[in-house]
Every structure is written in C-alpha cells, then in structure tokens.
Symmetry: C2
Subunit: 88 residues, 2 copies
C-alpha cells in the first residue's frame, strides 16, 4: 500500500536563519505587522510503499535523517498525511 | 494573542521539480525502495499576532500569497499550528 508522507526539515534552535530574518524585516513594509519568529525550512512530499502506516513512517524518518537533512544543523520530522500538498 | 502558523509552499502540478526528481533517483542506491512522487517545497514557521485564529489564518494566507510564493508556479497554504517545528 502507498502512504502519502510529508517530511519537514527545519533549522535547529540557535542556528542562524538569514532567510527567515530577511522575511521578518520585509513584512512591516508590506503592511504585515505583528509577525515574529519567522523561520524558513524545507518541505518534501512523497508516496511510500509499506505494509502499514508505522512502517511507512519508519522508512520516511530514516530517509529524512540520512538524505533530506543535515543532522548537524537541521531537524527532520516525518508524518503520514497530505497536509497542504494535495494529490501527487 | 500570538498564534503559531506554518506556511507550506509547493510547486503547482505540472511544474517540473528537478530537486524532487533527483532525490527520487538517489533513493534506491541508498537502500530506500518503493518511494515515488517525490516533490520538494518550502516551509515557513512564524508567530502571528491576531485577535483570533481565523484572523491569524487570514493574515498568514495573504502574506503567503504576496511574499512567500510565486503564484505563477507555486501554491501556498497556511495553517495554524506547530506541526513539526516545536516552540519558536
């Protein structure tokens, strides 16, 4: 069975995030006030063939740690579900 | 009140995704079989000051469309909630 999996890769706390800081600085000039703590990250969506949801999640977590993130500066979390991607 | 908001920016269906294609091609060599339809995108997390959750979501959606995505080739979806980011 194929499960939709979403992997989110985020910078670890304390790691400088110039992209997020730049967005945060640009927002007031565009009329968006009251937006703080902007952090930028990456998102991946895939279909994973597995016998059940737990196995799909386990595969996705291993893959996220080994291939999609740099564990020195990034955290990777995987979850089963579409959330914002729609059908592939 | 401050609400945690996550914005996900994804390529529209039909737009070529070389990053996703490269990841998909690399996976079998690393021992991950049965992973298909890999798509790469961006993810942003922020705290938004608003009177209620609906207002925060509205602000985030406007901001995602105007600043965080290119609507010609990308979809942006905003949702209130942490999902994988942890405390800012």
């Amino acid at each position: 069975m194929n499960f939709p999996v979403t992997v989110t890769v985020t910078l670890r706390a304390g790691i400088a995030d110039p992209e997020g800081a730049t967005i945060e600085r640009a927002l007031p000039a565009l009329g968006f006030d009251g937006v703080t703590h902007v952090r930028a990250g990456k998102s991946f969506h895939m279909m994973i063939e597995a016998s059940d949801e737990g196995a799909a999640l386990e595969k996705a977590t291993a893959l996220a740690q080994r291939l999609l993130s740099n564990p020195v500066i990034e955290n990777a979390t995987a979850r089963v579900g579409d959330s914002g991607w729609g059908a592939p």
